[in-house]
């Protein structure tokens, strides 16, 4: 198992490649090469979409120095993607800050995870996980004798412990967790933001769906949770302020036993 961690987007990325090894003495060139490529892609997306950088393209748009119509094609496509998700979640997820500024950080991290996954596949790896600040996607198996990737969910009341362990496999390889107290700048404390859940975990076919829907559940509460479990093929578990859990049937099927 090759494990590689690096700092980007204000958080840490942890990559695990089950079909590769990295040690002081041996380093497979293909592993080093794809990890380099992947780090560059995270850096590129961060430079372009971070509102913490004055020189980023999105900061230029926010400042009014660059109109959206004149922004890069990629920027416009990512904005369209975020608006599409706003529509699908009845507005519970939104790329707009209360002050009107466009903020794509709610989707870009997941877009980067998705890109990293594709790069690893292209480099010939089949068994890996890409975890960015607690949101992850997986491929294949974590070991010869371990099907899928056994993944824990952190207890929001005690970040040092886990409340659940699930097995991510080909059908549901991606998982994202949002919290009401997280640093994540894409959950706005709008007047209508609910306090129904302190944490929401969504497991889906892809990381973008999982990440957006986890955010939407925190923002929209019970009503959004019901809408999502009805309309999307996802596994969901939520934690209420009193610590009680809710999960749908899909989630219960994924519990690692």
């Amino acid at each position: 198992m090759a494990v590689h961690s690096f700092d980007t987007m204000g958080t840490m990325v942890s990559i695990r490649i089950a079909d590769a090894e990295i040690s002081e003495h041996t380093a497979d060139d293909s592993v080093i090469s794809v990890l380099n490529e992947l780090e560059h892609e995270f850096a590129r997306l961060n430079e372009k979409y971070s509102l913490y950088r004055d020189d980023s393209e999105i900061s230029q748009v926010a400042a009014g120095a660059l109109s959206l119509a004149d922004a890069s094609e990629e920027m416009r496509e990512e904005y369209a993607r975020a608006l599409h998700w706003r529509e699908k979640t009845d507005g519970a997820f939104t790329p707009h800050r209360p002050d009107g500024v466009i903020d794509l950080s709610g989707t870009i991290k997941a877009v980067a995870i998705d890109a990293a996954s594709k790069m690893l596949h292209s480099a010939g790896f089949d068994n890996f996980s890409v975890n960015v600040g607690g949101d992850l996607t997986t491929s294949g198996n974590q070991g010869l004798d371990e099907r899928g990737w056994v993944t824990g969910i952190v207890d929001p009341e005690d970040r040092g412990t886990m409340i659940a362990a699930v097995r991510l496999t080909a059908e549901f390889p991606a998982m994202a967790t949002s919290g009401s107290a997280e640093r994540g700048e894409h959950i706005w404390l709008r007047p209508e933001t609910t306090k129904d859940f302190v944490q929401a975990t969504v497991i889906a076919e892809d990381i973008i769906t999982a990440d957006v829907l986890a955010t939407a559940i925190i923002s929209g509460g019970h009503a959004t949770l019901d809408q999502i479990t009805q309309n999307f093929a996802v596994a969901v578990m939520t934690v209420a302020p009193d610590g009680s859990l809710q999960a749908n049937a899909h989630f219960q099927e994924l519990i690692a036993r």
Binding site: M1, V3, S5, D7, G10, T11, M12, S14, R16, S129, N131, G133, G134, D135, L136, T138, Q142, E146, W149, V150, T151, G152, I153, V154, P156, R159, G160, M162, I163, A164, A165, M175, A176, T177, G179, A181, E182, R183, G184, Q199, T201, L225, D226, T229, Q230, V236, M237, T238, S244, L245, Q246, A247, N248, A249, H250, F251, Q252, I255, A256, R257
Partner: protein
């Protein structure tokens, strides 16, 4: 009367065993003392109205304890157990006493219809913590949680797992 209450506590346990078997998983059953208390309550209250509609055996409206012979501890008849909440919804058993012994245990509420509708609607329902964390957690390779910063990563479970990955 002591013998009677002790016996009924036993009925409560029997009900729990039966429910556990019905649900297929032992962990689904709620706390034992609560069930015992409710089952013991049947001594004076006999069965509640909830059992009447499902019951096809005996007249459950007659308080059985008032006519209970002291020697056998409990009169023949049909007694409803406590309603126990499981992941599949409330479950209740009915215990038939014949000759002072349990002759039959009938499940009153299996909630089959509700289970089906829950699966169709895919709603998220309450789930117990014991049901989601299993022995498999020792094999966890990643953790998912609300975003940690670069600074807080060092204290995160993920950093511990990453460190373990380097050496093991």
């Amino acid at each position: 009367m002591r013998a009677g209450s002790a016996f009924l506590a036993g009925v409560g346990s029997a009900a729990i065993v039966a429910i556990g078997w019905q649900a297929g998983v032992g962990t689904l059953v709620s706390s034992l003392p609560q069930s015992q208390a409710a089952a013991s309550g049947a001594t004076t209250a006999a069965s509640s109205s909830s059992g009447a509609s499902s019951s096809t055996t005996a007249d459950t409206s007659t308080p059985a304890a008032t006519t209970a012979p002291v020697a056998s501890g409990i009169a023949d008849g049909t007694y409803d157990g406590a309603v126990v909440n499981t992941r599949y919804g409330p479950q209740q058993v009915q215990v038939v006493i014949a000759g002072g012994k349990i002759s039959d245990v009938v499940v009153l509420q299996t909630q089959t219809a509700d289970r089906k509708s829950e699966q169709i609607s895919s709603r998220a329902n309450p789930i117990l913590r014991e049901e989601v964390l299993t022995s498999q957690s020792s094999k966890v390779a990643n953790v998912s949680g609300a975003t940690y910063t670069s600074q807080s990563y060092i204290q995160s479970l993920q950093s511990a797992l990453d460190a373990a990955g380097f050496t093991g």
